[in-house]
């Protein structure tokens, strides 16, 4: 798992690549905490190169979502495909996050 953060106008674009799972989600937590603490208006999660996610990875992203939303912000997910898309659909997160191709 690798990740990167870029600022585009009023949007934080956070890109996560590879595996986001019980092994790697803890490595991501501090960076997600930082995003949430910025109280951004818009966050875009770019998951186009995410190969696999598990329930721990979903937990980390849902936690971010809740904190951004409670500060009045929005989280959009782009590029969801393959195994991660299957998990998001099963957990009905496609109704929670704004999903964009």
């Amino acid at each position: 798992m690798t990740f990167s953060k870029t600022i585009q106008g009023d949007t934080i674009v956070f890109r996560i690549e590879g595996e986001l799972d019980a092994l790697t989600a803890p490595e991501l937590r501090p960076a997600l905490d930082e995003v949430a603490n910025d109280k951004p208006k818009k966050v875009t999660l770019d998951l186009s190169s995410m190969r696999i996610i598990d329930s721990s990875g979903v937990g980390a992203l849902v936690s971010l979502f809740k904190r951004v939303r409670s500060a009045g912000g929005d989280v959009t997910i782009v590029g969801l495909q393959g195994q991660p898309l299957a998990i998001f659909k099963l957990l009905r997160l496609d109704r929670v996050f704004a999903l964009e191709a």
Partner: protein, 137 residues
Amino acid sequence: MIQLRFPGLLPYRDVALRVVSASCKVAGKLGGGAHRPSKDFADQVVSACGEALNNIFIHGFRNLPPGEVVVEIEFEPKRLVLRILDDGHSFDPSLIPPPDLDGLPESGMGLFIIRSFMDVVSYQPGRPNTLLLAKSF
């Protein structure tokens, strides 16, 4: 049959899941093409197997030295049968309620993913604990 043995530690998760997904491709090659597991099928089986392994690594070997985990993969003509064996703590899956998805849970989704994506989920506590997962393609 394909059998993989590895230490019950999270870093081995990816090794086991690579075997599961590569095995689905083999089933396609061996089956001659008429009936082969799709990419979606492999994604779902990998998801379920990954959750089962997480649970063994995290809950099964909690407060124990991590033991060996065994994954067995068998392809019937139209069905994948997966057996996951471990010597960790046993548990009773029937006591685990489904998550309240509307409440946006951040954990407790593992067994739900396993049950949703597999046709057969059967757990036999013991030494070893045996989780049998099966899915038709």
